[in-house]
Amino acid sequence: MVVAAEDAPQMALQLQHDEGLVLPSWHASERAQVRLAQSLYQLRELQRVASVLQPCTSSMAKFIRRYALYLHGEKKLEESKRESPGTRVPMRRRVSGIVLRTRLIRSSDITLDRTYT
């Protein structure tokens, strides 16, 4: 079955209704905040992302704010692990320019980079 491009949004809404899907929604009025949050996220300013999106009510903006908070917490956790004595800290070593990404901590979803050379 081929669906014309202009019918696709309507079809998607119908399917959402038929199958009990709940997709994230967002308001056009929050476009500026979301774009600002996107730029801040690329700069890794996670706390500022959360504060920019604080007044937003759409589910997409809420998700971005909460995810930024989650990532900020993970970052702080990683930093505290690095600072504490007796913890195995991944060292950045350069041996021949080959960079390997090693997943060290699986359960907590923190990916740390290790550089071998």
Partner: protein, 162 residues
């Protein structure tokens, strides 16, 4: 030194409030992406729990038992299953669900009991089954992958996506 993400508790409380609002009808249903994040928060809280070891104990009777940590009773899995049902194209939610199951048989049973019986089987459930087989080094021949029939069921969805 903190051994847990310091924002998890605040996020959990926020999600709980929103779920309460959903239950009482004050707001609409939470979307699948937000539910996925809630499931992730619960999984992390559970792994940091002092009973984390107990959570790894395999439960013999997966359905209808009173064990707090078994597959059917675990809150994080419940939430992740809802997230997968509400937004089946979120592959990260399926991966988190499979990670929450300590044995791949549990995942298969979870998929069979919770998803197939209540809603039409989403195509992602077939793919996560295949991925679990691969990660467990089990031959795909053992897995009854009926991709064609499942994808036919979702032909409307796929044509819409294309």
């Amino acid at each position: 030194m903190s051994i847990i993400n310091p924002n998890l508790e605040a996020l959990r409380e926020e999600f709980e409030v929103e779920l309460d609002h959903e239950r009482t009808g004050k707001s609409g249903p939470i979307d699948g992406v937000n539910l996925y994040l809630y499931g992730l928060v619960l999984l992390n809280l559970q792994s940091a729990d002092k009973y984390a070891e107990a959570a790894l104990i395999e439960c013999k009777q997966l359905d209808g038992c009173s064990c707090v940590y078994c597959v059917s009773c675990c809150r994080a899995r419940e939430v992740l299953v809802s997230a997968c049902r509400r937004y089946p194209w979120n592959w990260a939610a399926w991966e988190a669900l499979s990670r929450s199951c300590t044995k791949y048989e549990h995942l298969l049973r979870l998929l069979d009991h919770r998803l197939v019986q209540e809603v039409r089987r989403p195509p992602s459930s077939v793919f996560i089954t295949a991925a679990s087989h691969l990660s467990s080094h089990i031959s795909l021949a053992c897995c009854r992958l009926d991709l064609a029939s499942i994808l036919q069921l979702h032909a409307r969805v796929l044509s819409c996506q294309l």
